[in-house]
C-alpha cells in the first residue's frame, strides 16, 4: 500500500503521463482504466511496451490535468496563507497528501462528461448513417464471429473470393460497431461481397452488429473461454455467438466443425466445415509442413502457405462459398494461390535460420492448443522452443487455464520462455505437474527478448511464439 502510494511520485515518466498512457492503452474505457488503477502495484514500471502518443485528446487531457493541479495547489496555498488556525494547516497537509490519490479520478471526469454530451450522440448518428448505407448496398454481406479464428477466416474468405468478385472486408482486427461504420463509410457501393468481422465482449453485442449490418451469410469460427472476465461463463459466450444464427434464420450459416462445442450446437441446418472438409466434399492427402500445408479437396490440389491442420477447414469452406458465388475453378485456384500467412497469426518467419511461428495475436486456450498440436506434428528439429507471456482476460479461470497450458507444453517443448507476469507461476505449476525436464527461462523484459530473438535461435530450432500481454494487463 505504502509502496504503491510512494510509486506515484515518479519523475520519468511523470505520474500524469502514466495515467494518460493507461487511458490511451485502455482506449479510454473508464471501466478498464479503473480496474487497472486498483490492480497496479507500482506506477513507475507501468510503461514498458509502448510510449504515450501525444494525440489532440491526450494534449487536452494533459492541459486539464495541469490546470486542475494548479488550482488545487492554489487552494492549498490560500488555506495556509489566509488562515492561521492549526486545523487549516492540517487540512492543507491532508489535501496535499491526497492529491496523488485524487488525480486518477479527476482525469476521467472530462472523459465521462464528453462521452454523454458529445461522443454518444455523434456515434448514434454515425451508426444510423452506416445502417442506411448498408441496407441500400446490393452486396452479399458475410458476418464472421467467433472467440478465435475470425480474423483468419475473414482474410481467407476475402482472398479466395477476391479472385473472382469485388470484395471488401473490415480491415485488421476492426470488429466493433464504430469501426464497422467507418469501414462502411469508405465503401464505393459497387462491391459484390462485404465481409464483416464482429467481436463480442458482452451478451447482445452480436445482435446489435447484425442489426447494423444485416448479414446474408454467417460464419462462426470457434468458441472458447475468451473474455471470460466480462462473460462470466462459457455458456454465455456460446449464446452470444449464436445470436448470429438467430438473426440469419434460414440463411446459410457455416460452423467450424473442428470445435467440439460448435459441433454439438449444430441443429443440422448449418454447414459444417472442418479438417475433413465439408459433408459433400472431403479433404484427403493432408501433409503438414512447417512452411506450408498440402491437401486435396475434390478436384482441387491445394498447397496453402497457411500452416497448421486447423486452417484446412476454413480454406475448404472458402472454396465451397466461392463455388456458390459461381466462381470458376481457375479463379478459385488463383485465389488459393494468393493465400499467404497473416501477420502475427501462425505466421512462419525465418530468424537466423530457425523457423519462428509468430502467433502473438492469438489470445485464448484453443489457439494455444492448435499451435502446440502443430508443433507436435512437426519433426526433425533440434530444439522446440515455446515463448509466451500467458493469456489475458481469463477471469476466475486464470489459474486453471494456465496450469492446463503448462501441462500441454511440458511434453512438447525443449525450451520454454515465459514473460514474467501474474500468470507465470500457474504455467510453472502445470509444467511441474507434468515433470517438464527441459530448460525454463523467465524473462522480465518482453520487448528486449523479442528484439533479441535472433540471439536465442539457430538453424534447427522451431519456435512457437504465442499471445501478447499489453501494459494495461500488468
Amino acid at each position: 500500500m505504502t509502496k504503491k502510494y510512494l510509486s506515484r511520485f515518479t519523475i520519468k515518466p511523470d505520474y500524469g503521463e502514466v495515467l494518460l498512457y493507461m487511458l490511451q492503452q485502455t482506449e479510454y474505457d473508464v471501466k478498464e482504466y479503473l480496474k487497472w488503477l486498483h490492480r497496479v502495484k507500482n506506477f513507475r514500471t507501468v510503461i514498458k511496451r509502448q510510449s504515450l502518443v501525444k494525440t489532440k485528446k491526450i494534449r487536452l487531457l494533459d492541459l486539464m490535468l495541469v490546470i486542475f493541479t494548479m488550482l488545487y495547489a492554489a487552494g492549498i496555498f490560500c488555506l495556509v496563507w489566509f488562515s492561521e488556525a492549526i486545523w487549516a494547516n492540517v487540512l492543507a497537509l491532508v489535501l496535499l497528501l491526497i492529491l496523488p490519490l485524487v488525480t486518477p479520478y479527476v482525469i476521467i471526469v472530462p472523459l465521462v462528461i464528453s462521452k454523454y454530451l458529445i461522443q454518444k450522440p455523434a456515434e448514434k448518428k454515425i451508426l444510423a448513417r452506416a445502417k442506411a448505407k448498408l441496407a441500400a448496398h446490393p452486396a452479399a454481406k458475410i458476418a464472421v464471429v467467433g472467440s478465435y479464428g475470425k480474423t483468419t477466416a475473414k482474410e481467407v474468405l476475402r482472398i479466395v473470393l477476391s479472385a473472382g468478385k469485388k470484395v471488401a472486408a473490415t480491415p485488421g482486427n476492426i470488429n466493433q460497431p464504430l469501426g464497422i461504420a467507418k469501414f462502411v463509410d469508405k465503401l464505393n457501393g459497387d462491391e459484390d461481397i462485404l465481409i464483416i468481422e464482429m467481436g463480442e465482449f458482452r451478451a447482445g453485442d452480436i445482435t446489435k452488429m447484425c442489426d447494423l449490418v444485416g448479414p446474408d451469410i454467417g460464419f462462426i469460427t470457434g468458441v472458447s473461454e475468451a473474455h471470460l472476465a466480462t462473460f462470466g461463463n462459457l455458456q454465455n459466450i456460446v449464446k452470444t455467438l449464436f445470436e448470429l444464427r438467430d438473426f440469419l434464420g434460414k440463411k446459410p450459416l457455416y460452423l467450424n466443425g473442428d470445435n467440439d462445442i460448435l459441433r454439438k450446437e449444430d441443429n443440422k441446418s448449418s454447414i459444417l466445415y472442418s479438417v475433413d472438409g465439408l459433408a459433400h466434399e472431403t479433404v484427403k492427402k493432408v501433409e503438414i509442413e512447417p512452411l506450408q500445408t498440402k491437401f486435396t479437396l475434390g478436384k482441387y490440389k491445394i498447397t496453402s502457405q497457411l500452416i497448421g491442420r486447423h486452417n484446412i477447414g476454413i480454406v475448404a469452406a472458402a472454396v465451397d462459398l466461392a463455388e456458390k458465388f459461381g466462381m470458376s475453378a481457375v479463379k478459385i485456384e488463383k485465389g488459393l494461390k494468393d493465400l499467404i500467412p497473416f501477420e502475427h497469426r501462425m505466421q512462419p518467419v525465418i530468424v537466423n535460420g530457425a523457423i519462428v511461428i509468430d502467433d502473438t495475436y492469438n489470445g485464448n486456450l484453443m489457439g494455444v492448443t492448435v499451435g502446440v498440436n502443430l508443433v507436435r506434428e512437426l519433426d526433425g528439429f533440434k530444439r522446440k522452443i515455446y515463448v509466451t507471456p500467458g493469456l489475458v482476460e481469463q477471469g476466475d479461470k486464470t489459474r486453471q487455464i494456465h496450469v492446463e497450458i503448462g501441462k500441454m507444453l511440458a511434453d512438447t517443448f525443449d525450451v520454454i520462455v515465459l514473460m514474467q507476469n501474474s500468470v507465470t507461476d500457474f504455467i510453472i505449476e502445470g509444467l511441474k505437474k507434468h515433470k517438464f525436464a527441459g530448460e525454463l527461462l523467465i524473462e522480465d523484459n518482453p520487448l528486449k527478448f523479442y528484439q533479441n530473438l535472433d540471439k536465442f535461435v539457430a538453424v534447427g530450432d522451431l519456435v512457437l511464439m504465442q499471445n501478447d500481454w499489453t501494459d494495461n494487463y500488468a
Binding site: 535460420g353 527461462l441 523467465i442 536465442f456 539457430a458 538453424v459
Partner: protein, 394 residues
C-alpha cells in the same frame, strides 16, 4: 532465473581493433548474458588504457557519440581492481565505494593488450575463472611465428616461412632480403606477426616490392614474418569451441575474389572490396564478421574433412580452450590444406557461423562459460605449492 552469477565483460583496450571489440562485447556477449539472467559488469578499457565500468558502457550509443562517451567517463566510473581471493571491482558511487565481486570474466578484447595473453595473465593472478583461451595459448595464437613453429613441430602443413627481428632488418636489410630471395618462392606475404585484422600485411609479387613491405611490417612490430603465398588459393576458416572435446562450427569461405582481406575490407566495407563482389554476397553469400562468405564452404568432401582435421589438430596442439578460430589456406589443384593463423577470440564470436551450425548466440555463450568453469575447476586441482626447507636453510 536460476543463474545469478556476476560476469565481467572486458573490452576495448589499446589495440587497433578497439572498435571491433566493442561490437563483439556488446552485441555478441553482453546482450545474450543479460538474456540469460546473468548480472553483467561491462568493463571498458579506453584507447589510453584506462578502465571504466557503468551501465552506459554496455550501450553501443555511448561509443557512437563523443559527448556521451565523455559523459560516461565521469570520475566515479573509473575502476580499480582487487586481485586478492578472486577479482573484485572497486568503483566510486554517490554514496561511497562499491565493491563488486566477479564470478567469471569474459575477455572480449581483440589484438594487443588483451587477446595476446596479457589480460589472461592478470586474470590468472586473480585466480578467477575466465572464458576463452588461456594465457599461453593466447600468446602462441597471437604470434604468427610461434604458431607456425607449433604447427611444424606437430606435422601440420603451413606455408614455408622465414622470420627476422626488426633490429636485424634495420641493421642489415640487404642480408635479410638476400636470405628471403634465396630461401622463399614468390609471391610472398610479409606480416607483422603480433598484429591481427590484417594490419601491416603486404602481398609481394616482385623482388622490387620486398624492401618496402619489410619496412611496413617493421613499422608495426618488433619481428617480421615472411611466408610463401599459396597458389590456386581457397581461404577457409573454422570456428571451434571446447577444451578437450571439441565442437566445430561450419567451414566458412570468405568471398574475397582472390584479394586478401585488409582491415578496411574486413570491417569497414562490409567485405565488398573488389569489382566483382556483389552486395548480398550472391546466392550463397552470408554477411559475417569478415564481410560476405560462403557457409558452409562448397568444397569437395575430402578437402572439407582434411580442413576440419587440420583445424582441430592445431587447436589441440596450441593448447587452445573455450573458443578460437583457425584460418587455413588450400591449394585447390594439389588439394593440400595449410594452417595459416589462429584467432583466439573470433570477431563477434562468429555467431553468424554458429547459428548456421545450429548453436544460437545464447547457447554459445552458455557453452563458453561452462567451458571456462570446467577449465578453472580442473586447474584448481593442480598443485601450486611445494614444501621445502629452503628458507630455513638460507
Amino acid at each position: 532465473m536460476s543463474t545469478k552469477k556476476t560476469v565481467a565483460v572486458v573490452f576495448g583496450s589499446r589495440a587497433p581493433e578497439h572498435d571491433v571489440s566493442i561490437i563483439t562485447a556488446i552485441s555478441s556477449i553482453i546482450e545474450p548474458l543479460k538474456l540469460l539472467g546473468y548480472k553483467v559488469v561491462p568493463i571498458y578499457i579506453d584507447k589510453t588504457g584506462r578502465w571504466w565500468t557503468g551501465d552506459e558502457f554496455a550501450r553501443i550509443e555511448t561509443y557512437q557519440n563523443e559527448k556521451k562517451l565523455a559523459h560516461a567517463m565521469k570520475r566515479r566510473n573509473a575502476i580499480e581492481l582487487n586481485v586478492n581471493e578472486g577479482l573484485t571491482i572497486i568503483k566510486g558511487t554517490k554514496l561511497g565505494v562499491q565493491y563488486t565481486k566477479i564470478d567469471i570474466v569474459f575477455p572480449a578484447t581483440h589484438g594487443a593488450f588483451g587477446e595476446d595473453g596479457s589480460l589472461m595473465g592478470l586474470l590468472r593472478m586473480a585466480n578467477v575463472p575466465f572464458a576463452g583461451c588461456d594465457m599461453e595459448a593466447s600468446v602462441i595464437a597471437m604470434n604468427k611465428i610461434l604458431s607456425k613453429i607449433i604447427a611444424m613441430q606437430n606435422g601440420i602443413a603451413t606455408p614455408k616461412f622465414l622470420y627476422f627481428s626488426r633490429r636485424n632488418f634495420e641493421t642489415n636489410p640487404a642480408a635479410v632480403i638476400k636470405e628471403i630471395n634465396e630461401g622463399l618462392k614468390y609471391p610472398l606475404f610479409v606480416k607483422p606477426p603480433h598484429l591481427g585484422s590484417s594490419i601491416g600485411i603486404t602481398k609481394v609479387s616482385k623482388k622490387s616490392e620486398l624492401e618496402n613491405a619489410l619496412e611496413v611490417a617493421a613499422h608495426y612490430d618488433t619481428q617480421i614474418l615472411v611466408e610463401e603465398g599459396v597458389e590456386n588459393l581457397i581461404e577457409v576458416t573454422l570456428p571451434i569451441i571446447g577444451n578437450d572435446e571439441l565442437t566445430t562450427g561450419l567451414l566458412e569461405r570468405p568471398l574475397n575474389r582472390g584479394e586478401f582481406f585488409d582491415f578496411d575490407t574486413k570491417y569497414m566495407n562490409g567485405g565488398k572490396k573488389g569489382k566483382n563482389s556483389k552486395a548480398g554476397g550472391g546466392k550463397n553469400g552470408k554477411l559475417g564478421a569478415q564481410g560476405y562468405s560462403e557457409i558452409p564452404a562448397k568444397l569437395p568432401a575430402k578437402l572439407s574433412v582434411a580442413a576440419q582435421n587440420l583445424a582441430t589438430a592445431m587447436y589441440h596442439a596450441s593448447g587452445l580452450s573455450g573458443i578460437a578460430r583457425i584460418d587455413m589456406l588450400i591449394d585447390e589443384k594439389t588439394g593440400v590444406v595449410y594452417f595459416n593463423e589462429i584467432n583466439p577470440l573470433p570477431g563477434s564470436l562468429y555467431v553468424h557461423n554458429w547459428a548456421r551450425a545450429g548453436i544460437s548466440n545464447v547457447e554459445l555463450i552458455k557453452k563458453i562459460l561452462r567451458l571456462a568453469e570446467e577449465k578453472f575447476a580442473a586447474e584448481q586441482k593442480t598443485a601450486t605449492t611445494f614444501k621445502t626447507n629452503f628458507l630455513k636453510q638460507f
